[in-house]
C-alpha cells in the first residue's frame, strides 16, 4: 500500500479530528456556564466539607467582581467563561489494544523523545500487560514515602484526609483575590496535587518518578499545594515532555509552595501543551499562577521548560519573607509558529540578607512572540538584599519577536541589583559553520539552542534534562527553511 504524502497527511488530520470528539461524549460533564450552583455542585461532587464550599463560593464572588488582566503582551480571543463546562469526571483514556492504534504522529514524537515502549503505552492509554506492573512500582514508591511521613496525594484526598493542613495553608501564598485567574481557579479547581514533607525529612526521590508512573491527571483547573516543613527538602517535577493534547482551551492552574525555616523546595516544570497548528489554530491558553513563600534560611528554586500552549501567561514567583532566604528562577521558553508567551518571575525581597537569581532564556521562531516580564522588589525592611537577573533572547528568522520587561523597585539603599540582557539571532554564519563540519541545519539549530539554554537545562533533574533537550529540538523542527 503506497500512500502519497498528501493522503497520509489527510488521514492524520481526520484522525486527530475524530480523537477530539471522543472525549467530548462524557456523561459526567456538567452543563456549561458558571454560577453559584455550579460551584456548590463541584464541591458536593467531591464530598467536600462546608469550609471548602464556602471558600470556593467566596472566591467565586471575588472573581465576578474582577476584570481580566490586560497588561500582558498577548493577543488572543478572550474565552467565553460561560461557554465552558467546569467539571468533568476524570477523563477516560481511549482504550486501545496496542500501539498500532495510536496516532502515528504521536508515536513519532514519543520515539524522538526516547520514551520507552512501556511508558508510551501508558501515556497513550494502551492497556498494559503483566510484564510491567506499574501499579506495584507505584505502590513501592508510596511505601517509601509513607515510611518517611511524606504525604503525597490528590488535593481532593488531602481535603478529606488532611483538612487541617489544607485549611491552614491553602490560599495563604496566592490569595483568592490575587488575580482574575487565581480567583477563578479558587472557585472551581477540579483537582491537583498535595504534598507535605515533615520536619527534617529529605524526600528520598524526585517526586517526578512517582508522578510519571501514576500520571496524575492534568485537569483544566489544577490546584497544587506543597508544604516543606522545617529543614526538609523536596524536588518536585510536574508535567511531562510527552505532548499533551487536550480539548480544553483554557487552563488556569494555581501552585502554592510553602518553605518553612531551613527548608528547600526545587520545583521543575516541563510544559508541552498543544500549541496549536502551524497556522495558529487551536492550542491551549495557559494562565498559571505560581508562587512560593520562603521563611527563614529557606530556598525555593523554580525551573521551567515551556514549549507548549498557544498562549502562556505565567510568572512563578518567590516571596522572600524570611531572613537569609533564597529564591531562584530558571526558565527556558520556546515559541514557534504563532505561539505567544508572556512569562517571567517576581522576586519579592522582604527579609534581611535575601538573595534571588533569575536566569531566563527565550527562544522565538516562526511568527511567535516571546516576552520576559519580571519584577524584583526590595521592600524597605530588606537589608542587604541581592538580586542577579539575566535575560537572554534568541531569535530565529525575521518574523518573530522577543521582548523584555524588567521591573525593579528598590526601597532599601543597601540593595544590590544586577540585570543583564542580551538578544541574539541564530546567524546564517553559525549554520554555515556547522554545515561545513557535516552537521545538517536542523541538528545545528538544536545544538545552538541547547547551548543557549544550557544554564537552565543543567538545573533540571538529570532524568529530565535529556528529554527536555530533545523536546527543545522537536519544538523547533522545521522552523528554519
Amino acid at each position: 500500500m503506497a500512500y502519497t504524502e498528501e493522503e497520509l497527511k489527510k488521514q492524520l488530520e481526520t484522525k486527530e479530528y475524530e480523537y477530539g470528539f471522543y472525549t467530548d461524549i462524557d456523561s459526567e460533564t456538567f452543563p456549561v456556564g458558571l454560577s453559584e450552583e455550579i460551584v456548590i455542585a463541584i464541591s458536593k461532587k467531591k464530598n467536600e466539607p462546608k469550609w471548602m464550599t464556602d471558600w470556593r463560593l467566596d472566591a467565586f464572588k471575588i472573581w465576578k467582581g474582577m476584570k481580566k488582566p490586560s497588561w500582558s503582551n498577548l493577543k488572543y480571543n478572550e474565552p467565553d467563561y460561560q461557554a465552558i463546562s467546569y467539571y468533568s469526571a476524570p477523563k477516560k483514556k481511549p482504550n486501545l489494544k496496542s500501539l498500532d492504534e495510536v496516532d502515528p504522529e504521536l508515536l513519532k514524537t514519543f520515539n524522538k523523545l526516547g520514551i520507552s515502549i512501556d511508558e508510551q503505552k501508558r501515556l497513550s492509554g494502551v492497556a498494559m500487560d503483566v510484564v510491567v506492573d506499574s501499579v506495584s512500582v507505584a505502590t513501592s514508591f508510596k511505601d517509601t514515602l509513607e515510611e518517611k511521613g511524606i504525604i503525597f496525594c490528590s488535593i481532593s484526598d488531602a481535603i478529606k484526609n488532611h483538612p487541617k493542613l489544607v485549611r491552614k495553608y491553602i490560599g495563604t501564598v496566592i490569595p483568592k483575590r490575587d488575580n482574575y485567574f487565581a480567583a477563578l481557579n479558587s472557585a472551581v479547581f477540579s483537582d491537583g496535587s498535595f504534598c507535605y514533607i515533615p520536619k527534617g525529612v529529605k524526600c528520598p526521590m524526585e517526586l517526578s518518578t512517582y508522578f510519571r508512573i501514576n500520571q496524575a491527571g492534568t485537569g483544566q483547573f489544577e490546584r497544587t499545594l506543597l508544604i516543606a516543613d522545617e529543614s526538609s527538602y523536596v524536588s518536585y517535577l510536574e508535567g511531562c515532555t510527552a505532548p499533551s493534547r487536550d480539548e480544553n482551551q483554557l487552563h488556569a492552574a494555581v501552585v502554592e509552595l510553602i518553605a518553612l525555616d531551613d527548608a528547600e523546595i526545587k520545583y521543575s516544570t516541563v510544559q508541552n501543551w498543544f500549541p496549536g497548528d502551524k497556522d495558529g489554530n487551536g492550542g491551549v491558553y495557559n494562565f498559571v499562577t505560581k508562587r512560593g513563600i520562603c521563611h527563614d534560611r529557606s530556598k525555593i528554586s523554580w525551573t521551567q521548560v515551556e514549549t507548549g500552549s498557544a498562549v502562556t501567561w505565567k510568572y512563578p514567583s518567590c516571596v522572600l519573607k524570611g531572613n537569609d532566604s533564597i529564591g531562584e528562577f530558571y526558565s527556558i521558553a520556546v515559541t514557534n509558529n504563532f505561539q505567544q508567551a508572556d512569562t517571567g518571575t517576581k522576586m519579592i525581597h522582604i527579609g534581611k540578607n535575601t538573595k534571588s537569581t533569575i536566569i531566563s532564556k527565550g527562544v522565538s521562531a516562526g511568527k511567535s512572540q516571546n516576552s520576559y516580564r519580571g519584577l524584583v522588589k526590595i521592600s524597605p525592611m530588606a537589608e542587604n538584599a541581592r538580586n542577579f537577573s539575566q535575560c537572554d533572547s534568541l531569535l530565529m528568522g525575521n518574523d518573530c519577536g522577543a521582548h523584555t520587561f524588567p521591573y525593579i523597585e528598590a526601597q532599601n539603599k543597601s540593595a544590590q541589583i544586577e540585570h543583564e540582557a542580551s538578544t541574539s539571532k541564530i546567524g546564517e554564519d553559525q549554520i554555515f559553520y556547522c554545515n561545513q563540519r557535516g552537521i545538517d541545519t536542523e541538528k545545528a539549530i538544536a545544538l545552538i539552542v541547547n547551548g543557549f539554554s544550557k544554564e537552565v537545562l543543567n538545573k533540571l533533574p538529570m532524568e529530565f534534562a535529556v528529554e527536555a533537550q530533545k523536546l527543545l529540538e522537536i519544538s523547533l523542527e522545521g522552523s528554519v527553511g
Binding site: N435, Q436, R437, N450, G451, E455
Partner: protein, 248 residues
C-alpha cells in the same frame, strides 16, 4: 582529488570568480595567493558550497564526481573541510561536544555508528596534544572569548579530528604570532599525508616556510594568473603583485 573547471560565480549579482581552473592531486599541498579582493576566500566558500555564492558557469569535481549540486553538509561528509578565516562563536556548546557532534553526524551519513566515548576521548587527547592545547580549552564554549590564535588552533584541531580528504585553510595565518603560527603549521604538516590534499590560502609567504607547497597559484580579479612553485611565493613577498597585473 579536486578539479575546478572554468568556475564562474556571483554574489549579490556581482561577478567574483571569472573562470578559475585548478587541479589538485592526492597528497599535494597547494597555496593560493593574491591581493585583497581577488577572490581567494570566495573560492574557499564556493568549494565548501556556501549558498550565498551562485555558480554561474563551470564545475567542481571532487574524487571525480561533480559536486556543484551538493549541500554544504553533504560536501563535508564527502571529506571537504574548511578552516575559517573568522570562526564563529557558539555559546554554551563546548569544543568537545561540537567536535563529537560533527564526527558522529559525518559517521551517520556514512552509515556508521557513533564513535565510542573512549575512542573519541583518546582521539581528542591525541590531537589536542598535537596542537599543544590544554584540556580546559576543550570544555570551553566554542570560540567564545577565544583569542585569534586560539580560534585558529581550534580550527586545525577540528581538521585533525575530522581527517578530511581535502582541507581548505582560509587565511589560517592571519592574527597569529610566530609561535602560534609554528604550532598551527606543524599541526597541518603532521596531518597531511599521501592520501589527502591541502589548499592554503594566504597573503604572506611566511606560512609557506612551514607548510611547503607543491604548487603556488596567484589569483587576481577572479582568475588564476600565475602558477609556480614555492619560489613564486618568495618572489611575491619581495616584489608584490603588480608585475603580474602588467603581464596579464
Amino acid at each position: 582529488m579536486l578539479e575546478i573547471d572554468n568556475l564562474h560565480c556571483k554574489i549579490d549579482g556581482k561577478s567574483i570568480l571569472k573562470g578559475v581552473n585548478l587541479k589538485i592531486k592526492k597528497g599535494e599541498i597547494h597555496a593560493i595567493m593574491g591581493p585583497n579582493g581577488s577572490g581567494k576566500s570566495t573560492l574557499a566558500n564556493v568549494i565548501s558550497g556556501h549558498e550565498d555564492y551562485e555558480v554561474t558557469k563551470g564545475s567542481i569535481y571532487f574524487d571525480n564526481k561533480e559536486i556543484n549540486d551538493l549541500g554544504v553538509d553533504e560536501r563535508a561528509h564527502e571529506g571537504i573541510f574548511m578552516s575559517f578565516q573568522y570562526p564563529v562563536e557558539i555559546p554554551g556548546v563546548t569544543v568537545t561536544n561540537f567536535i563529537k557532534t560533527a564526527i558522529n553526524e559525518t559517521r551517520k551519513s556514512q552509515g556508521l555508528e557513533d564513535m565510542s566515548s573512549s575512542q573519541m576521548l583518546k582521539k581528542i587527547r591525541e590531537k589536542a596534544n598535537l596542537l599543544d592545547m590544554d584540556s580546559n580549552f576543550l570544555s570551553r564554549s566554542l570560540n567564545e572569548g577565544f583569542s585569534g590564535g586560539e580560534k585558529k588552533r581550534n580550527e586545525i584541531f577540528q581538521m585533525a579530528m575530522m581527517e578530511p580528504k581535502l582541507a581548505v585553510l582560509d587565511e589560517t595565518d592571519s592574527g597569529l604570532d610566530i609561535d602560534a603560527l609554528k604550532i598551527v603549521a606543524n599541526g597541518v604538516v603532521k596531518c597531511s599525508n599521501d592520501d589527502n590534499s591541502v589548499i592554503v590560502i594566504t597573503h604572506y609567504q611566511r606560512l609557506l616556510d612551514y607548510i611547503v607547497p607543491d604548487k603556488v597559484h596567484v589569483i587576481m580579479d577572479g582568475k588564476v594568473v600565475k602558477t609556480g612553485n614555492k619560489d613564486l611565493a618568495k618572489k611575491i613577498e619581495v616584489v608584490g603583485y603588480d608585475w603580474l597585473k602588467k603581464s596579464n
